[in-house]
Symmetry: C2
Subunit: 552 residues, 2 copies
């Protein structure tokens, strides 16, 4: 430890290294066992203690309000949250910015890492909160909602820290003047937050998608107002409560982070973001509101992740069995409710080359559907993979999808023995021609399109057209020869979509690794920002230069 | 030289070092004598050869068109420019992006540096072009239009290059799986341009303000359509012609850079920027159109520098004479037509502390006005400092300003012996109270407000309020004690204004040094971007990730 070291400085240094070399690293264990034997029960107990009670964040409020939060697993949540309003939170945030914005970059980073640490300790509480509000299976809720989200948060702190620490300060600037004495100026640079930041949470991955914006804003000195999705409040409420405790313990105004909840009947997001004090908006969710933000919030920087249509391109493989094993998991886990889940699988009518020999189209399709049906044939296993369905619209789409093409697999209800009221459904799989319009827009949830194309070239062209029209975050392509791979990469670059090739093992295309993978490119309608890259953080603060003529 | 060295790689490496350490450096000599004895005459001859003739850029056009370009020095320009239209340039740019966008980061940087070098060789031609279209004196036109602008361009290349080169490529990513074999993924990252870039030029500093956007966009692979100010076309036309020659010589589609001229009667900028192919807009100019761009161009990234009201805060000094010498130059050079020129000088009614003793307000004001009158008393010297007035509106404001307060100095016409038709005027100086509204908005041109305040605290508060209302790029403060300095710095940080202290020597507040000073903070209405910082370049390209499961 160096003399300037703080409890978290080594972790921060390691995170900065990780975003430079982009190799595998994690600060928060993803294995539940790493948290000790008591942790699971303690977390569950802590979660149950929250149910049916007012949730306290220790922020100014006029009572607690009922909300429209509900559990896809069918349990009664009944949590009420502090009731406040836009004017109150904006006023308190503006006040909190004075001290937080003038704290040092190092001190702010230290507080951010302490928040992440205290959230990490609560990973089992968070897992239950994420599971029961989003419908994720317990393991996914634990990993994606806990350690993986925390890694995304730390990654954002590392980027923001690095950008702010770039400036040599102070500096003696000396410009030669030929035979005359040089011009000498003493220079400093002072960073300042951009303004009040707003985080508009998503219903499915509130922490994983929320932490990058929250922690990048915090690390740059901006106070954050957290406005969760009206149907998924608890996970971000836990974040706000924990952060406020850390802030208070560290001697800062806890209003650096505030919670503002609303209901579908009386949404507050538009009023909130249109306040002139707002300098930053981070949003994950549907395209309708995301587009509205991009087009109307011109007084603040807006970072969006919106809808997208992800594709699988099947051209040639070594072994179909391992391909289907990988695909059947990635296309069904959490019932297709991940922003990175493939929706479409493009298969050429001429079939797929398997280790040199061509397997006919019909056999490939049958194999694919059979693999998914097999994986989900056992209710216990199906429930663990599928999680539960969040949102009535998603449930409706499963059945509506049967009218969109030839039904290859009919959705069925799955029993969850632990949570009998859980809404669990296997996917609808429909087959369409390339000329169909059905697969060209996002059908969010457990709906899979098998798209029959004339050739791999057409598959690629269609996937590209769909990405440019409707957005896309990920492609997964199976192609064994380099030329085909290169042509798919070219199309992915044009379409602004990240692409994975030939996944047959333990990595699923849905997974995006902190410190290494960029999530969303910003190059198509799926979003205008990438989590996390320099562009995501560099405008969250401004730099004021100070010049002084010495001796004057 | 390393094995991968190219003609310009050492210069680029040095520029990257300069943006890291921010100490003084320049790649292009600012002393005219460095260019050889013949250069001045050759440049003048080259400029005269352009007058009255069609300007050739070798781009597709349907003839040459008359424009509204005019010289503040009163000479007849009479240059016609290629006539083309929005659809043609957008089509050609989109086509050019294919090859330019897929060139390597190194190759693009090399081309950018070659363009800068070839422009440097023409610095005397450019000096004449800038002088006779903007009204700058010859020396300013030479330095700010030539080497200083080129340094800003190289700085932008260095930033863009550095951001693109950050990604380790390729990478073998290895995630441990306990006792099982690790997950191994081969990763690549491919950068891609954002889209067609548009540069909307300014009438006063077309190259200095234009190069950062042009070269950042080029270095990131975006083709650039240059739409000069209708009254100041020639400097950017020279840039386009030179760049196209370099591009062609290097084997690229010259339509990577295109010129699109218009006239005040038939402006094309709105049609141009609203094209969906446009991904980037760089703008310098008035706030009316800048605000329109920020509010309406939501499909592209918009970088603006708009109007601002810069202030001098006079509190305490060592020696008033040297303060007035510095101020009289900075507030009159190029007739206040620099975006960094102070417009207001705030002086407390109680006077200014000079080396411990208080000099009464009236004496300070008299001294200030006398210094400016003295500096400009000789017509030859006045003409060299003032340059000439660009734009009829600016001329009108000089006389209108006399109604805005107590006139301390009446503007007079100055004779320019070399250019008898030049429009040269000394500034109007008016005195107002802090309660006046007159000084709170930009009065562009040679108009100076002496603002009488109750105290330095009021001076600072008013300067801050004006900056937040109307924008500001620079403050110049004179304060000898640290506490006052710190309170001014706090206000500058709040107002998002760079601040210089106690300038009495060879540095003027108007000057912003490439590689060291950030121009515009983005933190007030003077503009939303800073030249050049990571935020200015990081969104000009996107990154597409490629993941491959090895051996599959």
């Amino acid at each position: 430890m160096t003399s300037g070291a703080t409890p978290h400085s080594e972790t921060l240094e390691r995170a900065v290294q990780a975003i430079e070399d982009r190799s595998y690293w994690s600060a928060y264990p993803e294995h539940p066992k790493a948290y000790g034997e008591e942790a699971p029960d303690e977390g569950e107990a802590a979660f149950h203690a929250l149910l049916g009670n007012p949730f306290e964040t220790d922020q100014m409020h006029d009572g607690h309000r009922d909300v429209a939060e509900s559990s896809p697993f069918g349990i009664e949540l009944g949590i009420t949250y502090p009731s406040t309003d836009v004017a109150t939170v904006i006023g308190a945030a503006t006040e909190a910015m004075r001290s937080w914005g003038s704290a040092s970059t190092d001190d702010r980073a230290e507080v951010c890492l302490e928040i992440l640490d205290r959230l990490s300790i609560q990973s089992f509480t968070m897992a239950n909160a994420v599971m029961h509000t989003t419908g994720q299976s317990f393991l996914m809720a634990f990993q994606a909602g806990g350690p993986h989200a925390l890694d995304r948060g730390l990654e954002a702190v590392a980027y923001t820290y690095r950008e702010q620490k770039r400036l040599p300060d102070p500096l003696r600037w000396e410009k030669p003047q030929g035979k005359r004495p040089p011009i000498i100026i003493e220079k400093r640079w002072i960073t300042r937050p951009r303004g009040v930041a707003v985080l508009i949470g998503v219903s499915t991955f509130p922490t994983w998608n929320g932490y990058p914006g929250i922690f990048a804003s915090l690390a740059a000195g901006n106070p954050v107002v957290v406005k969760p999705h009206p149907g998924t409040i608890l996970p971000l409420a836990l974040v706000v409560r924990t952060a406020r405790e850390v802030l208070r313990d560290a001697g800062y105004d806890p209003n650096v982070l505030q919670l503002l909840v609303d209901t579908p009947d009386a949404p507050v997001a538009k009023d909130l973001v249109m306040r002139t004090e707002v300098g930053i908006v981070d949003y994950t969710g549907g395209s309708l509101f995301g587009d509205w933000l991009e087009q109307n919030v011109t007084h603040a920087d807006v970072y969006t992740e919106k809808a997208g249509v992800n594709s699988v391109i099947l051209d040639s493989v070594r072994d179909l069995g391992s391909v289907f094993r990988n695909l059947s998991v990635s296309m069904t886990m959490y019932s297709g409710q991940m922003c990175t889940t493939p929706q479409n699988i493009f298969i050429p009518a001429g079939g797929v080359v398997v280790d040199g020999a061509t397997v006919p189209y019909d056999d490939v399709v049958t194999g694919f559907v059979t693999a998914i049906e097999g994986l989900l044939s056992d209710d216990a296993r199906a429930a663990a993979i599928l999680g539960a369905i969040k949102g009535a619209e998603t449930l409706a789409r499963i059945d509506e999808a049967t009218s969109l093409g030839t039904v290859l697999c009919t959705s069925r209800a799955v029993e969850n023995s632990e949570f009998p009221d859980a809404t669990v459904r296997t996917p609808t799989i429909v087959e369409v021609d390339g000329s169909s319009d059905a697969y060209r827009k996002e059908v969010f949830g457990p709906v899979i399109f098998v798209v029959k194309t004339t050739s791999t070239s057409e598959s690629v062209a269609l996937a590209k057209a769909v990405a440019l029209e409707s957005g896309a975050i990920t492609w997964l392509a199976y192609a064994t020869d380099e030329l085909t791979q290169e042509s798919i990469i070219d199309a992915a670059v044009d379409a602004g979509v990240s692409v994975a090739f030939n996944l047959t093992g333990g990595l699923f295309v849905n997974q995006s690794a902190a410190y290494s993978d960029f999530h969303v490119t910003g190059g198509n309608p799926a979003g205008n920002a990438s989590l996390t890259d320099p562009a995501f953080v560099a405008r969250r603060f401004i730099v004021v230069g100070v010049r002084l003529e010495p001796g004057s």
